[in-house]
């Protein structure tokens, strides 16, 4: 016989799980358990754990089946929505990246245009068409001395707006 095996182990375990141990068992089995160290361990451990299981099972509180079902459904929905919107988010991100890349490429490829625009912007405040002197009476003109400042401020505001839009666009993704 192997040192970890005993013929009576199964019979003893069945008796414990059925609640027949020790009172409802034959005296032979009780006598055997008193002598066999393997069965003594089985009796101690199985009795302790089985008693614990039966006692706790009667009083343990578990959530209602409906709640577990509902939570599982909610989770499945969230995962399905996430899975479904993944390609859209991917395309949006790609579009944003390609848009910015195209602008940068255009700026590099046509640097002469960019230089021309910058030069034009620089001359804009001094251009005659934008001087309000000819459009407004003399006194009002004095308050528009810093007209060039207004143009720079509006350009900066536009730039900030573009950056803000870009930020929100990327943050969404």
């Amino acid at each position: 016989m192997k040192p970890h095996l005993c013929d009576q182990e199964t019979a003893l375990l069945e008796a414990i799980l059925a609640g027949r141990w020790p009172g409802g068992c034959e005296s032979d089995l009780r006598a055997h358990v008193a002598q066999c160290s393997i069965c003594a361990d089985v009796a101690l451990v199985a009795q302790t754990l089985h008693r614990e299981h039966d006692g706790a099972r009667a009083v343990v509180a578990v959530p209602a089946a409906g709640l577990v079902w509902w939570k599982a459904q909610m989770k499945a929905r969230r995962e399905a929505v996430k899975r479904a919107s993944e390609p859209i988010a991917l395309v949006e991100s790609a579009a944003g990246i390609f848009g910015v890349a195209a602008l940068v490429a255009l700026a590099i490829g046509r640097w002469d245009w960019v230089c021309g625009w910058l030069a034009w912007l620089k001359q804009l405040p001094n251009a005659g068409a934008f001087r309000p002197r000819g459009l407004w009476p003399g006194d009002a003109v004095a308050s528009f001395q810093s007209f060039s400042f207004l143009i720079i401020a509006s350009a900066t505001a536009c730039l900030l707006l573009v950056l803000l839009v870009l930020y929100f666009f990327l943050a969404e993704d």
């Binding site: 089985h50 343990v60 577990v68 499945a76 929905r77 899975r83």
Partner: protein, 201 residues
Amino acid sequence: MREITLSEFERSQAAVVEAEEVFEMDEESFRVFYERTARPLCLYLARVSGDRALAEDLMQETYYRFLRARMPDLGEAHRKNYLFRIATNLLRDHWRSHKGDQGMISETIEVPALDPVAERVHQRSELSYAMLRLKPREREMLWLAYAQGSSHKEIAEVLGLKAASIRLLLFRARRKLAAFLRRRATAENQREPQSADRATP
């Protein structure tokens, strides 16, 4: 905030329908299965992890994964074993991600007091103490075998082990737990006369 386009909305709706169809079981079958398995599963997770709150979290996740799993037509017993296997794997994942914490906290563990009778609570904490001194696999095995009365084949199925190796592993785990329980009982018996002596004037 970004506006949702019509196609996006349609896609989301389709996802909702997909989510409803994704479960293998209908609600009524689930309810029946849950009533049979929830308490044993909760106790198994609580006893093996030594943490009631963790057991409740893992229980929800276990049922979710069970519902999502594509299972061939399994019998009731196999379904139950499959459920316990998911729970065991989740516990192991938890321990892996919280390295070092395998529920083997000896003195500081908070034992959920389920029974109002003081003696039973005392016995329960004695058992919890002894259980938490064992390795997780030993706890799993002992609980399945002696608390739930699972066969060696069922234990092997739940723990992902060979059925032939269960007997020996169980023998070692059982010997360890029995030794802990006896040692604790002896220590308790020695403490009692001392406190009784102190109480007598």
